[in-house]
Symmetry: C2
Subunit: 290 residues, 2 copies
Amino acid sequence: MDPVFPIFPDPDDARLTRRVRGTDQAGAATEISVVEERPLTIYLNAQEIVTAMTIGDHPEYLALGFLRNQGMLRADDVITGIDYDDEIDTVVVRTQRRTLYEEKVRKKTRTSGCAVGTVFGDMMEGLEGLRLPEAELRTSWLYALAKQINTTPSLYLSAGAIHGTVLCEGDRPLIYMEDVGRHNAVDKIAGVMFRHSIPAQDKILYTTGRLTSEMVIKTALMGIPVLASRSGFTAWGVEIARDVGLTLIGRLRGKRFVCLAGEERLVRDADPDSVAEEPARARRKGAVDG
Amino acid sequence: MDPVFPIFPDPDDARLTRRVRGTDQAGAATEISVVEERPLTIYLNAQEIVTAMTIGDHPEYLALGFLRNQGMLRADDVITGIDYDDEIDTVVVRTQRRTLYEEKVRKKTRTSGCAVGTVFGDMMEGLEGLRLPEAELRTSWLYALAKQINTTPSLYLSAGAIHGTVLCEGDRPLIYMEDVGRHNAVDKIAGVMFRHSIPAQDKILYTTGRLTSEMVIKTALMGIPVLASRSGFTAWGVEIARDVGLTLIGRLRGKRFVCLAGEERLVRDADPDSVAEEPARARRKGAVDG
């Protein structure tokens, strides 16, 4: 196994949670373990790009993955440095050459003055003609992954109100990231993959969040051929998955799931009736959103 | 009551959902009602601002509320027109004078070339010295609101995987918006409030989503003194609420809730033990995130 694996959450990291006091419905004092959230301003070379809200672990991977997923870094960009300053909550990603994005900003500056609106168009453009590799997906892997992910110690289990995303290969979870926003969790995975040149074509992405168009587009642009979620999905997310040949699994809980795209690549090698229902503490409640 | 109230979801609107086919764990064909999601590009006068993903109801309110909540429209800006074009998924908000945001973009253009990173800083700046009005909150209102909101016909109940946010006054829900992202739902409410000059100081905002810093900041900047959620919260969200005098209620389900800020403004006039547990169909599951 690659020496970088596995990366799992560290719920014991004291920087990631805080005890918060409140009163309950009976007026009794109560103290709850709550996830932290801090701003992280991401720079690409001399260009300030965005301030993201994050739990604050893996700032370097978050910055790298965000820039890569937004198309601001190309696959062949050479990273010369990533400087994280935890006093001013800033990450600077440095590249050997002037990046594509800086050219775009320069161009945009001359026309409308702001690049905010271009990002979505760029993402959709990247999908044109994209066809993901035809990876098989065994239902035994799905069940094994869900069980391992739900029982791995995590901030979700200890504090709740957080999203998890996991990069998997076959029945093994490799990189399990959590964050206040599910896009951060995916971006951190993209950062690890970019930094360590981890191939995507044999991977499965699991997320606790909904399968919206943005999530499906991100997964497809990352080159990962399978996306599974314990949550629901949107109509457009399903449509895009079908267009690019992404195998899409929704509502994966206990023995249940729905295959929305890629049925022909699904190998049904597990008997659903042999799968145990989820233990109650693994059930993600409405407390989680994006 | 203001003639604009109430605004409730219209789950029967055929434009908002689609039947999607898939196969279940046993390989049986299944068809599921799923929320739509479409892009909406928002312009402020001649300036393209952003493309948001939305279910597509109330595009005018979404555009107006987004611009207002981002500080791109000031409270005294006069709207001369809102043009929605459903063929190209575009809304143009027109103002009498050049807006603050256009000045900012011009200024930023000369320095770093892009305004993406300024938005967060602007939002935090707006909080400085802010102190919300000392509105009382009765626990009987909380219970009455939760019950009504959970039983009002909604896309959540018919299709799931969607967020709801409700503007309330006392024990009455006034404006109930849903959207794929919880920020859109809040922005649509802000749009209605801005368009119809609805006062904020006597209102309560209820959301199905987590109480993150962004959600707390938005509510505070909208001038609403009470924010309640059925979900969890982050440490920074609680901290900001305490700083600005926002009454913050989390994990409101059945008889249970936690008051995290504003305990001294809470009037405990209801007996929690007289409150029924939620019916199963009203329980929002992990299927919902942002």
